[in-house]
């Protein structure tokens, strides 16, 4: 169920189509069982034996944090008491560098959706812990993390070449771009686990 479309893509995103790439997969039988009990190990919430829900703080290199505005995920500067509006990322790691990303306690998930020539980031009202890496329809929720120094970028697994981005300007929607080097966009994020 689609809650809201996050945004049109970042400037100039739709112009260059990117060839489909195969995503590297780990040992597939690892995730075949999802049953298991909920318990806590250290600071990590264990949803099942093969699932773990982590909580990360995300902000871009220009210090913009994420928050919801009219069911749209935007990045901007929050001040004093408004900082409680900040959305943290809920993360379910699925294999090497790949993960599902959600917000709002994992109730809304980030997805890359292609329709026609358009590729866009979409917030969908699904529970992050219900997603499965074996289901083709859940691939749109998968993001590949790549680290460079202290910062992290997120590429969509379903839309290869498309990266999570924010605009330079504050209070603009978080979206996806296939031109990550563009000066008006930010694709580098600080991504730190919450203790």
């Amino acid at each position: 169920s689609v809650l809201t479309s996050i945004s049109p893509p970042c400037h100039g995103c739709t112009e260059i189509p990117h060839p489909w790439q195969k995503v590297e997969c780990g040992p597939s039988e690892l995730w075949s069982t999802q049953e298991g009990v909920e318990h806590r190990v250290g600071h990590t919430e264990v949803v099942s034996h093969s699932r773990v829900l982590l909580h990360f703080r995300i902000w871009d290199v220009n210090q913009k944090t994420f928050y919801l505005r009219n069911n749209q995920l935007v990045a901007g500067y929050l001040q004093g008491p408004s900082t409680k509006l900040e959305e943290k990322l809920n993360v379910v790691p699925i294999e090497s560098h790949a993960m599902f990303l959600g917000i709002h306690g994992g109730k809304l998930c980030l997805a890359c959706v292609k329709s026609g020539d358009e590729t866009r980031l979409q917030l969908e009202a699904v529970n992050i812990t219900d997603l499965s890496k074996n289901k083709e329809q859940d691939k749109r929720f998968t993001f590949i993390r790549s680290d460079s120094g202290p910062t992290t970028s997120f590429e969509s697994a379903a839309c290869p070449g498309w990266f999570l981005c924010t605009a330079l300007e504050a209070d603009r929607p978080v979206s996806l771009t296939n031109t990550p080097e563009e000066a008006m966009l930010v694709t580098k994020f600080y991504f730190q686990m919450e203790r």
């Binding site: 990590t44 220009n62 210090q63 500067y77 004093g80 408004s82 790691p93 120094g149 600080y190």
Partner: protein, 424 residues
């Protein structure tokens, strides 16, 4: 559904009345008149609907209230303030509707602002400018966006603080940098005051002390609102402020923003390495067995690393619901500043079925997934050997003694003969 049935009925009627032409003509005429009437009503309706809002431009009664904007503006007394119309930003920016009319009201007052004699306030591109802001300007502002067919309004709150240290927790923007890396602070929400990016001159202060431009530690990046901090240390945390001047009608105004820098140590993740168990584990059937899975993390954090056992492709819990085979307590520890995690697999007892099961130790974090297979081999065949070993040893010793005796006896004889031979 109902309309479809009616139409079907009509067509049937028409077929039945195929020969009666005058009746059909009157029917068609009647239909035509009906359609014209419906069209007339529709046109009148649409007309009144579209015209109505224009006639009541000032009255807010028929305007949809969208609620209070979630973001409160916390500003400093004496500085310029720009209140953006929260719901109109998309309209104005994307020029979806170029003919929108934006009006502002304060604290439920019917009077629009700015008033006639107001010189400190004006509306520009839908935003309300207050220059300079005074304590009395604090309050709730209602922004109304209207065009010929639509109207909505939203309220936003403005709070004005004195320029004192006590105000800092309210007016500051928290920003975070990572220890021992380089990164930037950003002077936020200045866009309305910047006319030419290259002329932008921002001065940075830490705890009210101006940061020297020739400082190796801090660099105010030209043409941006960023302050680059090299090799962030714990001491760099604290309150910063950035300031620029804004000129309006011959007057210079300061625009300052306050930032609280927090310095975080990044939870480092490393690719985990499974260092034990071995590929095969020897065990005797019926006995208790513990196989520890030990993972080396180096400087990596324990907390994002998951470690578990599997039996073939199933988790231990679901494969052994009776609890004969279980996962033991997870242990997190450090040796010589290197982190390790250990989870044992406990068999109580080992049975023949375990010899044909593929046990896997799986470790996983956001960087990597590693897996190590291990199988249990029966040690019983070897225990036979162990049991036979002393027996065979005794046997060997006995044989040895016997052979030695025989040899001694023979050599004795030979010696005797030789002695006889060599004797005089």
């Amino acid at each position: 559904m109902c309309t479809i049935h009616e139409q079907e009925a009509d067509t049937r009627d028409q077929r039945r009345l195929g020969g009666a032409e005058p009746e059909i003509t009157s029917r068609v005429l009647q239909k035509l008149l009906e359609t014209m009437f419906v069209l007339y009503v529709l046109i009148i309706g649409v007309y009144s609907f579209t015209v109505q809002p224009e006639e009541h431009t000032v009255a807010a009664g028929n305007c949809q209230f969208l609620g209070k904007h979630f973001k409160t503006d916390f500003k400093v007394e004496g500085e310029p303030v720009v209140l953006k119309c929260p719901q109109a930003q998309y309209w104005l920016r994307e020029s979806v509707s170029p003919h929108v009319n934006v009006t502002w009201h304060k604290n439920d007052s019917a009077r629009t602002i700015p008033g006639e004699e107001e010189t400190r306030m004006w509306v520009q591109d839908g935003a309300l400018w207050i220059l300079p802001a005074l304590q009395e300007d604090a309050g709730t502002y209602l922004c109304t966006v209207r065009n010929t067919s639509y109207c909505d309004e939203m309220s936003t709150e403005l709070r004005i603080f004195e320029k004192t240290e006590a105000s800092l927790p309210f007016i500051s923007y928290p920003q975070i940098l990572t220890l021992s890396t380089s990164g930037s602070l950003v002077c936020p929400e200045l866009s309305e005051f910047i006319r030419n990016k290259m002329d932008m001159k921002i001065q940075w202060y830490k705890d009210s002390v101006l940061l020297d431009q020739d400082n190796e530690k801090f660099l105010s990046v030209r043409g941006t609102s960023r302050l680059l901090i090299h090799n962030v240390s714990v001491e760099d945390a604290g309150y910063y402020s950035c300031a620029m001047t804004f000129a309006h009608e011959g007057m210079q105004y300061n625009v300052t923003r306050n930032i609280e820098l927090r310095v975080n140590k990044k939870e480092e993740e490393t690719i985990p390495v499974i260092i034990s168990p071995h590929q095969t584990i020897l065990a005797s059937l019926g006995s208790r067995l513990t196989i520890p899975c030990k993972v080396f993390l180096g400087a990596g954090t324990h907390s994002t690393t998951m470690l578990w056992w599997m039996a073939n492709t199933t988790s231990i819990e679901s494969a052994y619901q009776g609890g004969r085979v279980t996962e033991g307590q997870r242990q997190e520890y450090s040796e010589n500043n290197e982190n390790y995690i250990e989870v044992p697999l406990i068999f109580d007892p080992v049975i023949r079925e375990d010899l044909n099961t593929d046990f896997k130790c799986v470790v996983h974090n956001t960087l990597s997934t590693q897996m190590l297979r291990t199988t249990v081999k029966e040690a019983a065949t070897f225990s036979w050997g162990i049991a036979l070993a002393p027996l065979s040893l005794v046997f060997l010793v006995l044989v040895g003694i016997w052979m030695h005796r025989r040899y001694k006896h023979r050599t004795g004889k030979t010696y005797g003969l030789t002695t006889l031979k060599t004797g005089p």
